[in-house]
Amino acid sequence: MHDDDHDHGHAHPAPPDQDGRLSDYQLMEIAVRELLIDKGILTADEVRREVEKMDARSPAQGARVVAHAWVDPAYKARLLAGGTAACEELGIDMGTVKLVVVENTPAVHNVIVCTLCSCYPRALLGLPPDWYKSRAYRARTVREPRAVLREFGTEIPDSVTVRVHDSTADMRYLVLPAQPVGTEGWSEEQLAALVTRDGMIGVALPRLP
Protein backbone atom coordinates (compact mmCIF):
# COMPACT_ATOMS: atom_id res chain seq x y z
CA MET A 1 0.00 0.00 0.00
CA HIS A 2 1.44 3.37 -0.92
CA ASP A 3 0.92 6.74 0.75
CA ASP A 4 -1.56 8.23 -1.67
CA ASP A 5 -3.96 5.28 -1.60
CA HIS A 6 -7.33 6.83 -0.83
CA ASP A 7 -9.18 3.57 -0.38
CA HIS A 8 -8.61 3.67 3.33
CA GLY A 9 -11.86 4.50 4.98
CA HIS A 10 -11.64 8.18 5.91
CA ALA A 11 -12.45 11.36 4.07
CA HIS A 12 -9.95 14.06 3.17
CA PRO A 13 -11.30 17.62 3.35
CA ALA A 14 -11.67 19.11 -0.12
CA PRO A 15 -11.18 22.87 -0.64
CA PRO A 16 -14.63 24.52 -0.58
CA ASP A 17 -16.18 24.92 -4.01
CA GLN A 18 -17.41 28.45 -4.71
CA ASP A 19 -20.68 27.14 -6.07
CA GLY A 20 -23.12 28.80 -3.72
CA ARG A 21 -25.80 31.07 -5.11
CA LEU A 22 -24.42 34.09 -6.96
CA SER A 23 -25.03 37.48 -5.36
CA ASP A 24 -27.05 40.14 -7.21
CA TYR A 25 -23.85 42.02 -8.02
CA GLN A 26 -22.12 38.91 -9.35
CA LEU A 27 -25.12 38.25 -11.60
CA MET A 28 -25.12 41.87 -12.72
CA GLU A 29 -21.41 41.70 -13.58
CA ILE A 30 -21.92 38.56 -15.67
CA ALA A 31 -24.96 40.05 -17.43
CA VAL A 32 -23.19 43.32 -18.29
CA ARG A 33 -20.04 41.51 -19.43
CA GLU A 34 -22.01 39.15 -21.67
CA LEU A 35 -23.99 42.02 -23.18
CA LEU A 36 -20.83 44.00 -23.92
CA ILE A 37 -19.34 40.95 -25.63
CA ASP A 38 -22.57 40.09 -27.54
CA LYS A 39 -22.84 43.65 -28.82
CA GLY A 40 -19.22 43.57 -29.99
CA ILE A 41 -18.08 46.40 -27.70
CA LEU A 42 -15.50 44.19 -25.97
CA THR A 43 -14.12 40.76 -26.67
CA ALA A 44 -13.77 38.06 -24.04
CA ASP A 45 -10.02 38.16 -24.64
CA GLU A 46 -9.89 41.89 -23.91
CA VAL A 47 -11.68 41.31 -20.61
CA ARG A 48 -9.29 38.49 -19.75
CA ARG A 49 -6.27 40.64 -20.63
CA GLU A 50 -7.46 43.47 -18.35
CA VAL A 51 -7.90 41.02 -15.47
CA GLU A 52 -4.44 39.65 -16.17
CA LYS A 53 -3.02 43.20 -16.17
CA MET A 54 -4.80 43.96 -12.88
CA ASP A 55 -3.42 40.82 -11.25
CA ALA A 56 0.10 41.58 -12.50
CA ARG A 57 0.37 44.87 -10.61
CA SER A 58 2.17 44.57 -7.31
CA PRO A 59 3.65 46.67 -4.50
CA ALA A 60 7.01 46.34 -6.28
CA GLN A 61 6.00 49.35 -8.39
CA GLY A 62 5.39 51.50 -5.32
CA ALA A 63 8.60 50.28 -3.70
CA ARG A 64 10.55 51.36 -6.77
CA VAL A 65 9.06 54.87 -6.51
CA VAL A 66 9.86 55.10 -2.78
CA ALA A 67 13.45 53.87 -3.20
CA HIS A 68 14.05 56.35 -6.03
CA ALA A 69 12.72 59.18 -3.85
CA TRP A 70 15.07 58.14 -1.03
CA VAL A 71 18.19 58.36 -3.21
CA ASP A 72 17.22 61.43 -5.26
CA PRO A 73 16.07 64.49 -3.26
CA ALA A 74 15.03 66.38 -6.41
CA TYR A 75 12.84 63.44 -7.46
CA LYS A 76 11.35 63.28 -3.97
CA ALA A 77 10.41 66.97 -4.21
CA ARG A 78 8.70 66.33 -7.57
CA LEU A 79 6.93 63.26 -6.16
CA LEU A 80 5.50 65.23 -3.23
CA ALA A 81 4.50 68.11 -5.50
CA GLY A 82 2.80 65.92 -8.12
CA GLY A 83 2.60 62.18 -7.53
CA THR A 84 1.14 61.17 -10.89
CA ALA A 85 3.74 62.90 -13.08
CA ALA A 86 6.61 61.67 -10.91
CA CYS A 87 5.46 58.03 -11.19
CA GLU A 88 5.08 58.40 -14.95
CA GLU A 89 8.69 59.61 -15.04
CA LEU A 90 9.63 56.08 -13.92
CA GLY A 91 7.57 54.57 -16.72
CA ILE A 92 4.61 53.53 -14.54
CA ASP A 93 1.24 53.65 -16.31
CA MET A 94 -0.97 55.65 -13.95
CA GLY A 95 -4.02 55.72 -16.22
CA THR A 96 -6.33 58.52 -15.05
CA VAL A 97 -5.23 58.27 -11.41
CA LYS A 98 -4.39 61.47 -9.54
CA LEU A 99 -1.84 60.51 -6.92
CA VAL A 100 -1.10 62.38 -3.69
CA VAL A 101 2.10 61.26 -1.92
CA VAL A 102 2.35 62.00 1.79
CA GLU A 103 5.69 61.85 3.59
CA ASN A 104 6.42 60.29 6.97
CA THR A 105 8.83 62.42 8.97
CA PRO A 106 10.10 62.33 12.57
CA ALA A 107 7.09 64.56 13.40
CA VAL A 108 4.30 63.05 11.25
CA HIS A 109 3.04 59.53 10.55
CA ASN A 110 0.52 59.11 7.72
CA VAL A 111 -2.04 56.34 7.22
CA ILE A 112 -4.49 55.80 4.35
CA VAL A 113 -8.08 54.58 4.48
CA CYS A 114 -11.15 54.80 2.26
CA THR A 115 -14.20 54.91 4.54
CA LEU A 116 -16.73 55.01 1.70
CA CYS A 117 -15.47 52.04 -0.34
CA SER A 118 -11.92 50.77 -0.90
CA CYS A 119 -10.11 53.33 -3.09
CA TYR A 120 -6.50 52.24 -3.39
CA PRO A 121 -3.51 53.16 -5.61
CA ARG A 122 -3.67 49.91 -7.62
CA ALA A 123 -1.17 51.05 -10.24
CA LEU A 124 1.47 51.17 -7.49
CA LEU A 125 0.32 48.56 -4.98
CA GLY A 126 -1.75 46.04 -6.94
CA LEU A 127 -5.02 44.76 -5.50
CA PRO A 128 -5.90 45.89 -1.96
CA PRO A 129 -5.63 43.35 0.87
CA ASP A 130 -8.93 42.07 2.30
CA TRP A 131 -8.44 43.88 5.61
CA TYR A 132 -8.18 47.22 3.79
CA LYS A 133 -11.69 46.64 2.44
CA SER A 134 -13.14 45.44 5.77
CA ARG A 135 -15.70 47.54 7.63
CA ALA A 136 -13.60 47.30 10.79
CA TYR A 137 -10.52 48.87 9.19
CA ARG A 138 -12.54 51.52 7.38
CA ALA A 139 -14.59 52.55 10.41
CA ARG A 140 -11.86 52.34 13.04
CA THR A 141 -8.90 53.91 11.21
CA VAL A 142 -10.57 57.31 11.13
CA ARG A 143 -11.81 57.13 14.73
CA GLU A 144 -8.98 55.39 16.59
CA PRO A 145 -6.00 55.23 14.21
CA ARG A 146 -3.45 54.66 16.98
CA ALA A 147 -5.30 51.60 18.28
CA VAL A 148 -5.50 50.19 14.73
CA LEU A 149 -1.80 50.86 14.15
CA ARG A 150 -0.96 49.14 17.44
CA GLU A 151 -2.81 46.03 16.25
CA PHE A 152 -0.52 46.04 13.21
CA GLY A 153 2.45 46.22 15.60
CA THR A 154 3.09 49.88 14.86
CA GLU A 155 3.44 52.02 17.97
CA ILE A 156 3.47 55.76 17.27
CA PRO A 157 4.55 57.95 20.21
CA ASP A 158 2.06 60.68 21.23
CA SER A 159 4.68 63.28 20.33
CA VAL A 160 4.31 62.27 16.66
CA THR A 161 1.25 63.53 14.79
CA VAL A 162 -0.88 60.79 13.27
CA ARG A 163 -2.41 62.08 10.06
CA VAL A 164 -5.20 59.98 8.59
CA HIS A 165 -6.15 60.46 4.93
CA ASP A 166 -9.68 59.45 3.99
CA SER A 167 -9.62 58.74 0.26
CA THR A 168 -13.21 59.87 -0.40
CA ALA A 169 -13.17 61.18 -3.95
CA ASP A 170 -10.80 61.53 -6.91
CA MET A 171 -7.34 61.32 -5.32
CA ARG A 172 -5.39 58.18 -4.50
CA TYR A 173 -2.73 58.11 -1.79
CA LEU A 174 0.70 56.66 -1.23
CA VAL A 175 2.70 56.99 1.98
CA LEU A 176 6.37 57.78 1.48
CA PRO A 177 7.97 56.04 4.47
CA ALA A 178 11.07 57.48 6.13
CA GLN A 179 14.30 55.87 4.97
CA PRO A 180 15.59 53.55 7.70
CA VAL A 181 18.65 54.81 9.53
CA GLY A 182 21.79 52.93 8.50
CA THR A 183 20.87 52.49 4.84
CA GLU A 184 22.73 55.53 3.52
CA GLY A 185 24.58 54.70 0.33
CA TRP A 186 22.49 51.60 -0.45
CA SER A 187 21.46 50.92 -4.03
CA GLU A 188 17.88 51.54 -5.12
CA GLU A 189 17.33 47.79 -5.48
CA GLN A 190 18.52 47.13 -1.93
CA LEU A 191 16.36 49.94 -0.58
CA ALA A 192 13.27 48.83 -2.53
CA ALA A 193 13.47 45.46 -0.77
CA LEU A 194 12.85 47.23 2.56
CA VAL A 195 9.63 48.89 1.35
CA THR A 196 6.45 46.93 1.98
CA ARG A 197 2.84 47.27 0.87
CA ASP A 198 1.75 47.91 4.46
CA GLY A 199 4.43 50.57 4.84
CA MET A 200 3.04 52.41 1.79
CA ILE A 201 -0.50 52.23 3.25
CA GLY A 202 0.95 53.53 6.50
CA VAL A 203 0.05 50.69 8.88
CA ALA A 204 3.68 49.59 9.21
CA LEU A 205 7.20 50.96 9.08
CA PRO A 206 9.82 49.85 6.54
CA ARG A 207 11.78 46.68 7.24
CA LEU A 208 14.94 47.33 9.17
CA PRO A 209 18.20 46.42 7.45
Binding site: K98, V100, T115, L116, V142, R143, E144, P145, R146, A147, D158, S159, V160, T161, V162, R163, V164, H165, D166, S167, T168, A169, D170, M171
Partner: protein
Protein backbone atom coordinates in the same frame (compact mmCIF):
# COMPACT_ATOMS: atom_id res chain seq x y z
CA UNK B 1 -12.25 76.98 -12.80
CA UNK B 2 -12.97 79.60 -10.17
CA UNK B 3 -12.29 78.16 -6.73
CA UNK B 4 -14.01 79.81 -3.80
CA UNK B 5 -11.47 78.79 -1.14
CA UNK B 6 -7.70 78.94 -0.77
CA UNK B 7 -5.30 76.87 1.33
CA UNK B 8 -5.51 78.02 4.96
CA UNK B 9 -9.18 79.14 4.75
CA UNK B 10 -11.44 77.86 7.53
CA UNK B 11 -14.48 76.02 6.23
CA UNK B 12 -17.50 74.24 7.70
CA UNK B 13 -18.93 71.11 6.13
CA UNK B 14 -22.66 71.39 5.45
CA UNK B 15 -24.90 69.51 7.89
CA UNK B 16 -27.09 68.08 5.16
CA UNK B 17 -28.40 64.57 4.63
CA UNK B 18 -29.75 64.37 1.07
CA UNK B 19 -30.42 60.97 -0.48
CA UNK B 20 -28.23 59.69 -3.31
CA UNK B 21 -24.57 58.99 -4.02
CA UNK B 22 -22.79 61.39 -1.64
CA UNK B 23 -19.00 61.30 -1.21
CA UNK B 24 -19.00 63.48 1.94
CA UNK B 25 -18.75 61.02 4.86
CA UNK B 26 -21.45 61.36 7.52
CA UNK B 27 -18.92 61.64 10.33
CA UNK B 28 -17.53 64.91 9.01
CA UNK B 29 -20.79 66.76 8.28
CA UNK B 30 -21.15 69.83 10.49
CA UNK B 31 -17.44 69.88 11.38
CA UNK B 32 -14.99 72.75 10.81
CA UNK B 33 -11.56 72.40 9.22
CA UNK B 34 -8.92 74.17 7.15
CA UNK B 35 -8.33 73.91 3.40
CA UNK B 36 -5.11 71.93 2.86
CA UNK B 37 -5.05 72.14 -0.93
CA UNK B 38 -7.18 72.48 -4.02
CA UNK B 39 -7.04 69.17 -5.91
CA UNK B 40 -8.56 70.43 -9.16
CA UNK B 41 -12.07 70.28 -10.59
CA UNK B 42 -13.91 67.02 -11.20
CA UNK B 43 -17.34 66.07 -12.53
CA UNK B 44 -19.82 65.98 -9.64
CA UNK B 45 -20.14 62.33 -8.49
CA UNK B 46 -23.66 63.00 -7.19
CA UNK B 47 -24.68 63.59 -10.83
CA UNK B 48 -22.42 60.97 -12.44
CA UNK B 49 -24.10 58.30 -10.29
CA UNK B 50 -27.34 58.91 -12.17
CA UNK B 51 -25.87 58.77 -15.66
CA UNK B 52 -25.56 62.54 -16.11
CA UNK B 53 -22.33 64.26 -17.13
CA UNK B 54 -21.59 65.92 -13.78
CA UNK B 55 -20.74 69.23 -15.42
CA UNK B 56 -19.78 71.90 -14.60
CA UNK B 57 -16.84 70.26 -12.84
CA UNK B 58 -16.75 71.01 -9.12
CA UNK B 59 -13.64 72.25 -7.30
CA UNK B 60 -12.40 69.50 -4.98
CA UNK B 61 -10.40 70.30 -1.86
CA UNK B 62 -8.49 68.38 0.75
CA UNK B 63 -9.71 69.67 4.10
CA UNK B 64 -7.76 69.05 7.32
CA UNK B 65 -9.64 68.52 10.58
CA UNK B 66 -8.36 68.16 14.14
CA UNK B 67 -9.22 64.68 15.37
CA UNK B 68 -10.10 65.94 18.87
CA UNK B 69 -12.74 68.14 17.24
CA UNK B 70 -14.15 65.33 15.11
CA UNK B 71 -14.46 62.57 17.73
CA UNK B 72 -15.57 63.23 21.30
CA UNK B 73 -13.07 61.60 23.67
CA UNK B 74 -10.50 61.02 20.89
CA UNK B 75 -7.52 59.09 22.24
CA UNK B 76 -4.26 60.29 20.76
CA UNK B 77 -1.98 63.24 20.31
CA UNK B 78 -3.54 66.72 20.33
CA UNK B 79 -1.95 67.34 16.94
CA UNK B 80 -3.59 64.35 15.23
CA UNK B 81 -5.51 65.25 12.09
CA UNK B 82 -7.65 63.75 9.37
CA UNK B 83 -7.59 64.98 5.77
CA UNK B 84 -10.69 64.42 3.66
CA UNK B 85 -11.50 65.25 0.03
CA UNK B 86 -14.64 67.39 -0.09
CA UNK B 87 -16.37 69.06 -3.04
CA UNK B 88 -16.88 72.81 -2.89
CA UNK B 89 -20.68 72.69 -2.76
CA UNK B 90 -20.42 70.91 0.61
CA UNK B 91 -18.36 73.73 2.16
CA UNK B 92 -19.25 77.09 3.71
CA UNK B 93 -16.83 79.74 5.01
CA UNK B 94 -16.31 79.40 8.78
Amino acid sequence: MSARFRPGDRVAVRSAYPPGHIRTPHYIRGKTGVIERLCGAFPNPEELAYGRNGLPAQPLYRVRFRQDQVWPGYLGGAGDTIDIEIYEHWLDPA
